[in-house]
């Protein structure tokens, strides 16, 4: 993809690929403290308001060595990679650890990290995951308030409503910029590849937000719309915690597909929902947490009045995607539980669906390529038969 804004994207790419390097430089430059946060719903705005650098720990590219002796091989690759990062000192740049989500595999990794980084604060404030009970809002508010207290205490800073509101505005700004790019992609603009968009979202989880927002604005200003070609339009689905490997995204595009929408954590899911900027900032973060699961339902939450499959059908209709590729992180149980519902819904609407299982290491890319190519061939034949417009 040709575009002129190489520098901002390169800066984002460096942070996305080497978060530890970015954190070390940021700490050296600012004298500030950085915390490691974990997917999926940690309220980073609160840490930001405390003057901390909140970084969502990314799956890195290192092979898992010691991590396989700390968690079982049938834990997801991300949790084993986190354990490996802790065991090999790759989390040493972080001054503390904060987590808000109850995933049993993530909790396994959290306990490993706590054990191996003794002396550093590890706080788990568990956000209620039953989302539509009469008491959900109150309970989520208690947890958010706990985070305010804990992070205030950790940073030695009083997090006032005013500071928190400013942080919310900063984060909202970044999300709005990213959402605009995603909306343009849905509407037929292909100026950025799926890999580049992933870099933007991933780096937003790592970089100081003001800096990232400035880079985003520069990048948008330097780029111009590029009409989409006639490749098969793909909706990418799944991966709730870490990013799919860029080489997999490349294989999809090399095989004749173009990603027009997604519900990935490193994608539309993460940037889907803003917090209100006017009222109580804690209430705003609670509202954001609850609304996010309505905007893009997540199978890690329990909510009986929204469905991921319904959302997916609407998203496919809205973007004009021709096929759905589910990226299932091997051993991810929420995704495994929900897959049959997705399959049923997509089959009922005649939407082709391909399931690809991803792993930290040893992903059979060429096998995947063959399956993806076969799916795209079918989709193209289907176009001929149904005379579907190509863009």
């Amino acid at each position: 993809m040709e575009h002129t804004a190489v520098s901002p994207l390169a800066a984002m790419s460096r942070a996305a690929e080497d978060p530890t390097g970015y954190v070390e430089q940021w700490k050296a430059r600012t004298g500030g403290r950085a915390i490691a946060a974990f997917p999926m719903n940690f309220p980073a705005e609160i840490a930001h308001a405390a003057g901390l650098l909140p970084v969502i720990v990314q799956e890195d590219r290192n092979p898992i060595t010691l991590g396989n002796n700390l968690l079982s091989e049938f834990n997801c690759g991300y949790s084993r990679n986190l354990a490996d990062q802790a065991a090999t000192g790759r989390l040493d740049a972080y001054d503390g650890f904060f987590m808000a989500d109850h995933c049993i595999q993530l909790i396994g990794a959290a306990d490993v990290i706590r054990e191996l980084t003794a002396g550093r604060r590890f706080y788990f404030g568990q956000l209620i995951s039953s989302m539509n009970d009469p008491w959900t809002t109150d309970q989520a508010r208690l947890t958010m308030t706990d985070f305010v207290d804990e992070l205030s205490s950790f940073a030695g800073v009083q997090i006032t409503d005013e500071r928190l509101r400013e942080s919310i505005k900063t984060y909202n700004r970044g999300r709005r910029l990213l959402r605009a790019l995603y909306e343009q992609r849905r509407s037929g603009d292909s100026r950025f590849t799926s890999g580049e968009l992933q870099t933007m979202v991933k780096s937003s989880m790592v970089m100081q937000r003001e800096e990232h927002n400035a880079l985003l604005e520069e990048l948008v200003a330097q780029s111009s719309a590029a009409p989409r070609d006639d490749r098969v339009r793909v909706h990418l689905s799944g991966h709730f915690c870490h990013a799919p490997k860029p080489e997999l995204l490349e294989v999809i595009e090399e095989s004749g597909g173009i990603v027009v929408d997604d519900d990935l954590f490193h994608g539309a899911r993460y940037i889907s929902t803003d917090a209100d900027e006017s009222g109580s900032p804690v209430d705003a973060l609670v509202g954001q947490y609850l609304d996010r699961n309505v905007n893009i339902p997540c199978p890690t939450r329990a909510q009986s009045d929204v469905d991921w499959d319904t959302y997916l059908l609407n998203a496919v209709h809205s973007s004009g995607a021709e096929v759905v590729i589910s990226l299932l992180v091997k051993y991810c149980e929420p995704h495994m539980l929900y897959l049959p519902e997705l399959r049923k819904a997509l089959e009922a609407k005649g939407i082709p669906h391909l399931l690809l299982e991803t792993e930290h290491e040893g992903m059979p890319l060429e096998t995947m390529r063959t399956r993806i190519e076969a799916m795209f061939e079918q989709a193209k034949r289907s176009r001929t038969l149904t005379r579907v417009p190509t863009a």
Binding site: P299, S304, Y338
Partner: protein, 441 residues
């Protein structure tokens, strides 16, 4: 050890008789519809005292899956789940139970081509369709989502209540076993959740909840639990008069049987038999030479097999996380006059809902109390809640307690993951290590 020529396990006679109680419970559940009783499907913690007090028949999803696996009847349900689309790396309890939900929903003939129609009818007719769901999971996030899927499979028509329970990670500085701000706050919160559940039950049954009945039920459970713990404590003796497998065989009773005098009688019988054995020098394993601690959830497909396998190697499995750190294990917390607090605290105490700090302390205490020589870890393939901390616990056993450890692979309810040869060689290696350590000392 390749073939088992002699059964050296000496299981308690009482647990065999206890099977009648369990059978009667299931028969009663299976005929609930004929009796006009309401049925709840629930998962997670032992919420059955509340259902019993409300006059509802209850089916514990994990227990039903475990029962099928223990009777080697899990195949058709798991096959139905697989056909529906569940990947075999998913929790096999949930796959089995969801497979039953698929069959119950009468997808049968149209959507399942593999599951034999006789099996379909059998499973579907045996497990009565629920009037409502109650989810009470805490440690395992998968458990909460499992009921969300059951809810969807049954067409989103069956009311569902989700009890929200906090994982006891131990974030606060004073956090500890039965102590600290987190413990007190969490207890208050869960009591509040239980009150909300009671309101839900009142709506579903159309009757006021019988609080007096709940107090009476909890008094039975308290007495039964005290007897169970006392009987367990008798097994600190060498040789141990009963083994882990006996406590496994009594899980159904303490975990979801109706709480009544028969429950107390059962555990009184268990305790009496253990005491008699102790008095007469009868051991749970004929030639006890090794005393092991079992970490992990049970492999229900292999209960009898594993009991014989370990006994064949003169290894008495004395205690374990699953049996000894669960199931009303702190009966002094139960106050029949104020039963909700004791219920709440036992839900919080479930060992797969505890962070490593507490688990380490509990394993260390059990290994010390029971004179343990080695720890065997059951790496249950599809139960991450029970395998999460095993490698950390192994490090504690090896490095801090000086106790050798070994892992073997299996699963809770999917026999395909059990590898007998792996257990064979690793158990032999563990016992040799214990021998070598003894020789050195």
């Amino acid at each position: 050890m390749a073939s088992l020529l002699e059964d050296k396990s000496n299981r308690l006679r009482m647990t065999g008789r206890g099977g009648e109680l369990v059978g009667a419970y299931w028969d009663e559940l299976f005929t609930a519809r004929e009796r006009g009783a309401q049925v709840v499907w629930y998962n997670g913690h032992a919420l059955n005292p509340l259902f019993q007090a409300a006059g509802i028949s209850w089916c514990h999803g994990e227990a039903f899956s475990a029962r099928l696996a223990a009777q080697h009847l899990e195949g058709p349900a798991q096959l139905a789940g697989e056909e529906y689309g569940y990947v075999n790396e998913l929790c096999s309890y949930s796959r089995t139970h969801l497979g039953c939900a698929v069959l119950t929903n009468d997808f049968g003939e149209s959507e399942t081509g593999i599951v034999d129609t006789v099996d379909q009818r059998e499973l579907a007719s045996r497990l009565p369709e629920p009037d409502f769901f109650v989810n009470g999971y805490q440690g395992c996030s998968t458990g909460q989502q499992w009921d969300q899927m059951s809810y969807r499979i049954l067409g989103k028509k069956v009311p569902i209540f989700t009890l929200s329970l906090p994982y006891m990670f131990g974030s606060k500085p004073d956090a500890g076993y039965l102590v600290g701000e987190e413990w007190e706050t969490a207890t208050d919160y869960v009591v509040d959740q239980l009150e909300k559940l009671i309101e839900f039950l009142e709506v579903q049954t159309g009757r006021p909840f019988d609080h007096d009945k709940l107090g009476e039920i909890m008094s039975y459970i308290k007495a039964a639990s005290q007897l169970r713990r006392e009987a367990m404590a008798l097994c600190m003796a060498k040789p141990a008069p009963a083994t882990y497998w006996d406590w496994v065989a009594s899980i159904a009773h303490i975990n979801f049987m109706p709480a009544e005098q028969r429950l107390i009688d059962y555990f009184q019988g268990v305790k009496d038999e253990v005491a008699d054995r102790l008095a007469s020098g009868v051991a749970g394993v004929a030639d006890e030479r090794y005393r092991l601690y079992f970490d992990g959830i049970m492999n229900w497909n292999k209960l009898g097999w594993l009991a014989r396998k370990f006994a064949d190697a003169d290894a008495a499995v004395i205690c374990g996380r699953y049996t000894h750190q669960n199931f009303w294990q702190e009966p002094q917390l139960i106050d029949p006059e104020n039963p909700l607090r004791g219920l709440a605290q036992h839900y919080l105490l479930c060992s797969n809902s505890q962070g490593f700090k507490t688990l380490k302390q509990a394993m260390t205490k059990d290994c010390d109390d029971y004179g343990i020589d080695g720890v065997i870890f059951h790496a249950s393939r599809t139960c991450r809640a029970y395998t999460n901390h095993q490698h950390l616990l192994a490090r504690v056993a090896e490095n801090q307690l000086g106790i050798p450890t070994a892992f073997f692979e299996g699963d809770i309810a999917d026999a395909a993951f059990y590898k007998d040869e792996i257990l064979e060689t690793r158990l032999a290696a563990l016992l040799e290590t214990i021998d070598a350590k003894r020789a050195r000392n």
